[in-house]
């Protein structure tokens, strides 16, 4: 099912202030694939997600990121969004005073405009958005509430997947989309992610726990430790991790990569 290479990261190093967090990371993601990046706290998973989306708290010091044939690191965050990159936040931001649907329509139209497409008017957008809300069982009343304000943890994560559904990215990076969810909410969020799998879209899920992978079956599983990907495998790798934990990954030298791609 693998298509063309969508994302190619080579030797990526990044730091926050003086502290180096990514220490020579390599990753290749093809269209149609779902990747899971697992690893202990502090291994650099969220930093990787932030660097890919263009968060300016991180400084890239070496390496390259090619996305759909262009240099991703040279693009502003909004230009990455227009090019089809989406980051699902671990901690979605509350923005009191800004209506959820208004915000999303503004975002979608900014992206459509950047792509030279026609903007959607309020009526067309509403119909489109309502359809997408069903994917994650989001009550239409959420549309008129302020962005994430007063949402429960599960509602915030469902809102992220709803936004992804509306913005229709080519590459979705979901940072701990499973954290803080009870089992019912996890099922809904995972159902949304599964519904959004497409042969021309790649999804990279960053997660600490394997339980998300019970609901969204990845094509490729990576283990990250010490700012690098130290092991790559298939679905089985996640199950193995569940038994052994991350202790072996520690901060030691990377284990030899397993060629487990199918």
């Amino acid at each position: 099912m693998s298509g063309a290479v969508l994302l190619e990261i080579r030797g990526l190093r990044a730091r926050v202030g003086e502290k180096e967090i990514l220490k020579g990371l390599d990753l290749t993601v093809r269209e149609g694939e779902v990747h899971a990046i697992m690893g202990p706290n502090g291994s650099g998973k969220s930093t990787l997600a932030g660097v890919l989306a263009g968060r300016d708290a991180y400084e890239v010091t070496a390496g390259s990121v090619r996305y759909a044939g262009q240099d991703l690191l040279g693009l502003a965050p909004e230009a990455r969004a227009a090019a089809g990159v989406f980051l699902g936040f671990q901690y979605p931001v509350e923005i009191p005073g800004v209506g959820n649907l208004y915000f999303l329509r503004t975002a979608l139209n900014a992206i459509r405009k950047a792509r030279g497409e026609e903007e959607l008017d309020a009526m067309d957008f509403l119909a489109f958005a309502k359809e997408k809300m069903k994917l994650v069982e989001l009550d239409p009343a959420f549309g008129s509430r302020s962005v994430n304000e007063g949402f429960s943890g599960g509602e915030k994560k469902r809102n992220e997947i709803f936004q992804m559904a509306v913005l229709e990215p080519k590459l979705a990076i979901l940072d701990e989309i499973d954290s803080g969810l009870d089992i019912d909410a996890l099922r809904v969020v995972a159902g949304g992610v599964n519904a959004l799998r497409r042969s021309d879209r790649a999804i990279v899920m960053v997660t600490h726990y394997q339980r998300l992978l019970d609901h969204v079956t990845p094509d490729v599983v990576h283990v990250m430790a010490g700012g690098r990907i130290v092991k790559t495998g298939g679905r089985d790798l996640a199950l193995e991790l569940e038994k052994t934990g991350y202790a072996w990954a520690g901060d030691k030298a990377p284990m030899p990569l397993t060629e487990a791609r199918t």
């Binding site: 989306a53 263009g54 968060r55 300016d56 708290a57 502003a76 965050p77 909004e78 990455r80 969004a81 227009a82 989406f86 980051l87 936040f89 979605p92 931001v93 923005i95 009191p96 005073g97 800004v98 209506g99 208004y102 915000f103 999303l104 503004t106 975002a107 979608l108 900014a110 992206i111 950047a114 309020a122 302020s146 936004q163 913005l167």
Partner: protein
């Protein structure tokens, strides 16, 4: 009487412009004389040496020779009415402080209510004016009240009988322009709300761009028991203008008063509220939004006196400051010895968009009763980088993301404008002052 050591051109020109109007009754002539004396005794326009004006610099105004417009010099001002937007409710229009019956509409009043120009009121119903004009706005305490009282050309009398409710909001538009000159306008409002009456009044000032002008409106509002008055002030000044407004309120038992001011223009835009809660269970809600950029100042000054027990007052003010702008908030609350069970809250939140913007916020509580709940809080902050990144990661450009967050900060103040046509107008005015704001009108 003391005379100021150095008389500024502004104070001198104002004194020179003093006349007692041919139609002024004798008591008003006396009041005007007292006001002129008061202006001199207080040293002319306030300076930074006055405690209540420590952060608001009027030096550029003081150096200016100011003129009163003649009755035939209102055309440029009247032409600004287009900028006020359409309005279907009752409306009173003033050009350079003079009433324009041709642009005004009076309708929708309950029986027994009076809404006429002050000039007409002084001729027709002086007994409704005399007991209250100058009673709350004292000419011996406040230089701009003194200047207004000495020099006002006209104004509004709004008198509501017992139980009189005016459903549509009443708009009073002050238009100010005298090309090539520095005009001073002194709008005056006297509102007497009878027992259980209800009214909403909007004072909307628009002055011309590029003209140095002084607009110093004074309003006196008296609420009988159970009356409800909502007062909105929209300050939409040209960037060279000074609007120094003051509102003086007295509330009897169980009356409710709200004051909400949007300061959106002017070299200096200052809105003062002086309120006296004189009857039990009176409620006051004062709020405002100031937006300023370049080297402009937005200033909210509130002085609430809790005289009677069981009264409630809230003060909620926000500023958005860019460039070298300055924001000032003074929230003074005095709780008199007998005013037990007083509840008084104030908050001042400030968003600084540049390194050079400054804000001075001064809560001043003087509490002489022992069973009260008084609190004050405030914040000074910048746009949250994480929120900015969140919006940009969804595709919004940086200016659009900044605008949306600024709008979100201000949105609560826009929503406090209750009458819908006015709220839509407030949205437009606020959005127009954002970096990419034109498209944000529907944000809320």
């Amino acid at each position: 009487m003391t005379v100021a050591a150095s008389v500024t051109p502004a104070a001198e020109s104002l004194a020179a412009a003093f006349t007692i109007g041919p139609d002024d009754p004798a008591w008003l002539g006396d009041l005007r004389e007292d006001a002129l004396d008061g202006l001199r005794a207080l040293g002319g326009l306030p300076t930074l040496r006055h405690e209540d004006w420590r952060y608001t610099n009027l030096a550029a105004l003081a150096a200016q020779r100011l003129e009163r417009a003649r009755p035939d010099q209102g055309d440029a001002a009247a032409a600004l009415l287009d900028r006020a937007g359409t309005w279907s409710g009752p409306q009173l229009v003033f050009a350079n402080g003079r009433y324009r019956s041709d642009l005004s509409r009076v309708h929708g009043l309950p029986p027994g209510a009076v809404m006429i120009s002050l000039g007409e009121a002084l001729r027709e119903v002086p007994d409704l004016v005399r007991p209250n004009l100058g009673r709350l706005a004292r000419v011996d305490r406040h230089p701009l009240v003194a200047a207004n009282t000495a020099l006002f050309d006209d104004g509004v009398l709004l008198h509501l009988p017992v139980g009189g409710a005016v459903a549509p909001p009443i708009r009073i538009v002050h238009l100010v322009s005298l090309p090539g000159r520095a005009v001073a306008a002194f709008p005056r409002l006297l509102l007497v709300a009878g027992e259980g009456s209800l009214v909403t009044v909007v004072e909307h000032t628009i002055s011309a761009e590029g003209e140095r002008a002084l607009v110093a409106p004074v309003a006196e509002i008296v609420l009988a028991p159970g009356a409800e008055v909502n007062h909105y002030r929209f300050q939409e000044e040209g960037l060279e203008s000074f609007e120094l407004a003051s509102l003086h309120v007295e509330q009897a038992a169980e009356s409710r008063f709200t004051s909400h001011a949007l300061a959106l223009g002017g070299q200096v835009a200052r809105a003062e509220l002086h309120a006296r809660l004189a009857g039990e269970r009176a409620e006051l809600a004062a709020s405002g939004l100031g937006m300023a950029s370049a080297a402009r100042t937005t200033d909210a000054f509130v002085h609430v006196e809790h005289v009677a027990p069981h009264c409630t007052s809230t003060q909620t003010f926000k500023t958005v400051l860019d460039g070298r702008a300055r924001g000032v908030f003074t929230g003074r609350v005095r709780v008199a010895p007998g005013a037990q069970k007083t509840s008084a809250q104030q908050s001042s939140s400030n968003l600084l968009l540049s390194e050079d913007a400054t804000v001075d916020t001064r809560p001043q509580l003087e509490i002489l009763a022992d069973d009260v709940k008084c609190s004050h809080g405030g914040s000074v902050g910048q746009l949250d980088p994480t929120s900015l990144f969140y919006l940009r990661s969804r595709g919004l450009s940086e200016p659009a993301a900044r605008s949306l967050l600024i709008y979100a900060f201000a949105a609560g103040m826009v929503e406090l404008v209750r009458p819908e046509p006015l709220r839509a107008r407030a949205r437009q005015l606020v959005a127009a002052r954002l970096p990419a704001g034109a498209r944000l009108v529907e944000a809320a």
